[in-house]
């Protein structure tokens, strides 16, 4: 059973639909303790980093205990940003801190007509191998919609460039994250979700 954490940031409908279509057994936990019993934890997210403040101490502790016990944790979009220490978008909100580094605003580039938010399909440039990217090839395109992004750290297994080069996929041990929306990225996105489910199996 996978725990799909709902902390009120945007809607879970599309992630639910994608997990359902993949035949995943999942629940939206009503108490933090349910995360410690799950085979995997997904922290989705749409919108503002500030919303992650609702993942308060009990949730952070429960997710932290699950991760320490080896349970795979998957952050999507703002959920991936939350894996880091914090974000320029909401400096008062503290990240989960599993990955060192802070989230920063994308610069864009007016001359090259690179706008922010970065909205649309962009490519994943692989850096080494990753369980999350099994079956995909470097250059695979996925759907992004965001204004803030993670730095390229040792956990970066795929990077994307939109004026700045940022981490679009991170993976280290049982910590996984994607900046884009796998639930909105057609077959490539479904493959990534399926890979995470396989890691949890």
């Amino acid at each position: 059973m996978i725990a799909l954490v709902d902390y009120g940031a945007g809607n879970l409908t599309s992630v639910r639909k994608a997990l359902t279509s993949l035949g995943a057994d999942f629940v939206v936990p009503s108490t933090p303790e349910e995360c410690t019993r799950a085979r995997g934890v997904i922290v989705p997210g749409v919108g503002n980093f500030g919303a992650t403040a609702r993942l308060d101490a009990p949730w952070r502790d429960a997710i932290g205990n699950a991760v320490a016990a080896g349970t795979p944790l998957f952050g999507i979009c703002v959920g991936m940003q939350w894996l880091f220490e914090g974000s320029e978008e909401a400096p008062d909100a503290i990240g989960f801190g599993a990955i060192a580094g802070r989230i920063a605003r994308l610069d864009g580039n007016a001359e090259q007509r690179l706008k922010v938010p970065h909205v649309g399909w962009n490519s994943l440039e692989f850096r080494g191998t990753a369980r999350l990217l099994k079956g995909l090839t470097s250059g695979a395109q996925v759907y992004f919609t965001h204004s803030f992004a993670a730095p390229v750290t040792p956990e970066c297994v795929a990077a994307t460039t939109h004026a700045n080069t940022f981490s679009s996929v991170v993976e280290r041990d049982n910590i996984f994250g994607v900046q884009f929306h796998p639930e909105k990225s057609g077959d490539a996105g479904l493959a990534i979700l399926r890979n995470f489910l396989e890691v949890c199996a």
Binding site: V46, G47, R113, H118, W121, S147
Partner: protein, 251 residues
Amino acid sequence: MLTKRIIACMDVRDGQVVKGVKFQQLRHAGDPAELAKRYNVEGIDEVVVLDITATLETRQALARTINAVAHEIFLPLTVGGGIRSEDDAAAAIDAGADKVSLNTAALRQPELIATLASRYGSQAVIVAIDAKRRDDGFAVYVRSGTTDAARDAVAWAREAESRGAGEILLTSMDRDGTKAGFDCEMTAAVSDAVDIPVIASGGAGSVDHFADVFTRGHADAALAASIFHYAESSVTELKRHLRMHGIPVRL
């Protein structure tokens, strides 16, 4: 590199896809879920469902239609038409929409843009602008194109951006359904005035029209309805053609 998006739009009335010319003479074009299923495999990058009669008949977008469409596609889904309040937007998003498109309501109560942007994020809020050319610029129309809003499209797009809109969906009423090509001048005027992505709409009739609007029109995305509904042009062929012209697309 960020690719240019090809967006399929379904104008929906009474649960069926319809299409008109210059906002008139509607004819049936099929079942929304069936069309969505086709788009999912054909390489469409995004889908927009517009409940076109909603504004006139004060109906909310049909949750059932949204749900049926969302069930068929794992692509970004935008819903517009009759979204007048935070509750209407919440209903559309709960039914499976990723973004909502505001038109008449955004002009009537511009604070709704900020309300929705702070609740769902700017990426979930599209401001749709229906505009016609005039000697002095581009005039905005509301209520499904029936009422002159006494606003200029460029100024209104700037204001929408400053209020928190994440994208602009710009429809040329002069070109809608004509297959005479997008209004590249109007699209470029709006696109150059804002930092958020602009989706060009109205007039798509050939693959060259898309190439035009991405180059001359400075569009970030292009939306079309008829040419995809009636399978007059395959999405893959369109994208190959664009790539040949050096325009980055997802293939």
